[in-house]
Subunit: 142 residues, 2 copies
């Protein structure tokens, strides 16, 4: 039976394995854009890397509101959507540290350092998203 998850349960579900987030941002012209990103958990927040000069980097600089969606796309279907506020961090040590964590999470620990080095350079950002509302329903079609 479809079950509404608490915020804590939803975050645990999201980070139980390396799912990609689908992030929604709004362009300068007001159009929505969705793209997949890699994320890691930082307590009750979510972090991701992006470039300052990318669509995502520019969007969160204009407006901190973002939406992150995760789902299991096979029956009985589960989804988590997180509305949150993005904070931009350009401290290179932090960018690099989290880039290694995030890269290792999706590509394996042996790749972590390579991702840290690749993304720990000027122009790369860390974005920390603090959830403001979490909507999550498990086993929708059960």
């Amino acid at each position: 039976m479809a079950t509404t998850l608490s915020s804590a349960e939803a975050l645990d579900w999201v980070f139980a394995r390396p799912r990609t987030a689908k992030i929604g941002i709004v362009t300068a012209s007001g159009a929505p854009v969705v793209a997949p990103i890699w994320v890691a958990r930082d307590g009750d927040a979510l972090v991701f890397n992006t470039g300052a000069d990318t669509a995502k980097g520019r969007a969160v600089a204009r407006d901190p509101r973002v939406s992150l969606c995760f789902d299991d796309e096979t029956p009985p279907f589960t989804f988590v959507t997180i509305a949150g506020r993005a904070e931009i961090i350009d401290d290179l040590a932090e960018v690099r540290r989290w880039a290694a964590t995030i890269g290792g999470r999706y590509m394996g620990e042996d790749q972590a350092e390579a991702y840290g080095e690749r993304n720990g350079v000027p122009g790369e950002l860390l974005v920390r998203v603090t959830p403001t509302k979490i909507t999550a329903v498990a086993d929708i079609a059960d």
Copy 2:
């Protein structure tokens, strides 16, 4: 190696199996929202059902611009993002016909009629999205 897909290749990848779309819309206050939806292919367009009085229904009535994202969230990772324009169809026969097709696609043919009946009622809409730009990269981390 990462490969850019043509629009035709991208649509074929999307519909090779019943993946969920993550749709991005913009609320009246200008915030992005992402949610998973079921879709079907109608030629080069994509169709989905929603209610006229849902966040998605109201958003596409205000602004036809939507973004649809699909991805394979395991290595080597593939994604397709479709920017498109939404057209709202409230003809109940069309709503019902596509609701059956869409329900059958994700839940099995034996469920198709039940979904058609459930969604083929006043207040339910069919939304047809005509792609304006398709961005697709396969085997990103290869």
